[in-house]
Subunit: 406 residues, 2 copies
């Protein structure tokens, strides 16, 4: 079994990089701090006898070689980037648990037939650059390299420029290589496991998600003399669309999700009806058909509302990640590993997107979840229990070993 | 009568300073461009034989002396600052029409008993610094000098720093001096005069207005795994409050106004329920009692909505400008001037705030309006007719002369 204290200590050291006042992390993708986090991780990996390479999207791969040259790898890992007001465990836990698995194998001088690889995927959060899971998406072929390198942050910096500014060179092609099986360990980021008092989630798939930019254009007029009934007010339209979207979530049952994360007004003067509202919309559902219904309803209600408000509405499709079911052999591998360790487990679907979504399109893949406090994530207060962290890493160790061959 | 072409030419020259692509102006208070606009105006005033001084708030006063030393002044003027996406006439027209009055008196070698002063008030728009009419408000004693100098723009720069950075010195105390009567000429910024095909508005007063900051604090959580019913979503609360505010405006009749000019989300990530929404609210009504009812209803509905949404609501009072009725002798002076010129006129109340509101608290004051195209203002497309500009300036000339004594 793995060394829980060593794992926890590594998590806490990593959390120091980009630490926020409120106990969280702000270590956004391809920033100087992200680079520092990767450098720390690489020091540890080199000490553990691994070698590594970067690809053109800045995805980082660390390898513990297997005994049989050219055997396909068993892949684990996750991401080190965080939300602007993120926690200490989202992504980081999966990466450092991968390292802990390798350290444990080293401690016990266990060689595997297949290499064990840890991936650190670029820009999983989708916070600095949209969409989420960008590095793994390009790698798996869901997005072209040009698309990936051309994505811009809020200041207009592209992924390509950000990678260059970090001084990365000798980049390998961003493309899949032979992988026998892949396992991503992650915190649940929701309340199910904690409420069920269950340390292990055996993840069967990931729900579908769609991202949009909603742009509402009205007419800027003076707040005082302009009668209400002649206004073309994009805030009026936005408020109504938002209310109807929340209603839509209710109508589509407990698994439907609507999140309105960002709203901007232009010009944003107190005494002027805004000319424009620019907002983000995130719709999710585990069932592709329901997600499509939600998509259609969103377009319809936006048109209806904006027509009534006399506002021009544009919906820009930003991202579609359809629901994914993981390979049953990998799901069963995780189930067996958990059972053999005598851990209580629960089958579930992921509400969050993960790099495993794109990895699963090129290799047999599944995920392991552990509970997080009150289900809170994307929040500086995000927290987990050390014993859960240990349990999850032990399940990962067993799952990897069962595929990598002792 | 005044020289309509010279007035129009001056308006167009001034519009070149801070001109925007869409034909408007962005010449915000106490910026480099505002300074350039003032400098151009001062060159013209010096050519017209006037002298000038600045006060501690950066208010600019230009004087054409009268024949009787120490006689109280007849004051006109308005402001040269604009909205970020403002037009060419809001404020500027009143200032340059004042200059045109002085130029006309010079042309005809007419001396007046009382001095004629043109004020260029600082930060009338309230766009760079809140609240509006800040320079005239401090001058009239509605705000303390400390309050005025301490107001900050969105980058944290204070009024004091902005004044300093423009290199202003030898500033006079910001306080009223003897004024016999004051007249502010302005575009209506609303549709009433145009619809009534009437060139002159005889303004009887200004409606009441209140500004607030609304801060809604929820809990940031992940867009995917977090069930809708456990969220504390400040956007949900905002959408509901906004809808109820627009309803409130409808309930309080055609003169009630609700404007939601700015919304900000923090952290503003697509896949995170925002921790915080910060928004502005502008409520207006000509009747103080109704405005107070609206204020109470706003507080009540905000509490109700935020309690249901599980969100903490804070309402910060930013500004209250109660309804004002202008001095009847000044209103009648304007009415007579308009009648004598054979111009059709209409009595009305102003929906916009103006420096005349604060000036009226220390001296007999009234305003003259002219129509603007489709009532559109605080918009780069703001427009007026040259013949209306001329008519308004002629009314101003007569009103001033009747008070300043030939
Ligand atoms: N795990 C995680 O937070 N992923 C971000 C992508 C998403 O929005 O679900
Ligand atoms: N005239 C004008 O646009 N004033 C700004 C103050 C207000 O918001 O009414």
């Amino acid at each position: 079994t793995i060394n829980g204290e060593r794992l926890w200590d590594s998590l806490m050291q990593m959390a120091g990089i980009g630490a926020t006042d409120k106990g969280g992390c702000n270590r956004q993708a391809l920033t100087e701090l992200d680079q520092q986090g990767r450098a720390l991780f690489l020091r540890w990996c080199e000490q553990a006898g691994c070698h590594w390479w970067l690809d053109e999207m800045g995805n980082l791969f660390v390898r513990r070689p297997g005994t049989q040259p050219d055997a396909p790898a068993v892949l684990t890992g996750s991401h080190l980037d965080t939300q602007p007001t993120g926690g200490k465990f989202d992504g980081v836990y999966g990466v450092l648990a991968g390292l802990e698995v390798i350290r444990t194998l080293n401690d016990h001088q266990i060689d595997t037939t297949h290499p064990i690889d840890i991936a650190v995927w670029t820009n999983e959060e989708g916070a600095r650059f949209s969409p989420a899971m960008l590095g793994s998406g390009v790698w798996a072929g869901a997005f072209s390299l040009e698309y990936g390198l051309g994505r811009t942050d809020s200041t207009g910096t592209t992924v390509k420029q950000a990678i260059k500014s970090l001084g990365y060179d000798a980049l390998q092609p961003c493309q899949p290589y032979p992988i026998k099986a892949a396992f991503e360990l992650h915190i649940e980021q929701g309340p199910i496991l904690e409420q069920a008092k269950t340390p292990i989630g055996v993840v069967e798939g990931v729900q579908g998600m769609r991202w949009y930019d909603l742009i509402l254009t009205g007419a800027p007029v003076h707040a005082g003399p302009t009668p209400m009934d002649v206004r073309q007010d994009p805030v009026l339209a936005y408020a109504s669309i938002a209310a109807k979207l929340y209603e839509l979530a209710r109508e589509h049952g407990p698994w439907a999700r609507v999140t309105l994360g960002s709203i901007e007004t232009y010009p944003g003067a107190r005494n002027t009806v805004p000319e424009r509202v620019t907002a983000t919309v995130d719709l999710r559902h585990p069932d592709a058909n329901v997600l499509e219904q939600m998509d259609k309803a969103f377009r319809l209600l936006t048109n209806e509302v904006s027509e009534i408000a006399g506002v021009r509405a544009e919906i820009r499709d930003e991202w579609l990640s359809p629901p994914v079911s993981f390979a049953s052999e990998c799901v069963e591998t995780v189930q067996r590993a958990s059972d053999e360790l005598g851990l209580k487990s629960k089958r579930l679907f992921s509400g969050a997107g993960h790099d495993a979504v794109y990895v699963s399109s090129v290799a047999p893949t599944s995920m392991i979840f552990i509970p997080c406090e009150k289900g809170i994530s994307h929040n500086e207060a995000e927290n987990i229990k050390p014993q859960d962290a240990k349990a999850g890493a032990n399940v990962l160790l067993r799952a990897i070993l069962s595929q990598a061959g002792e």
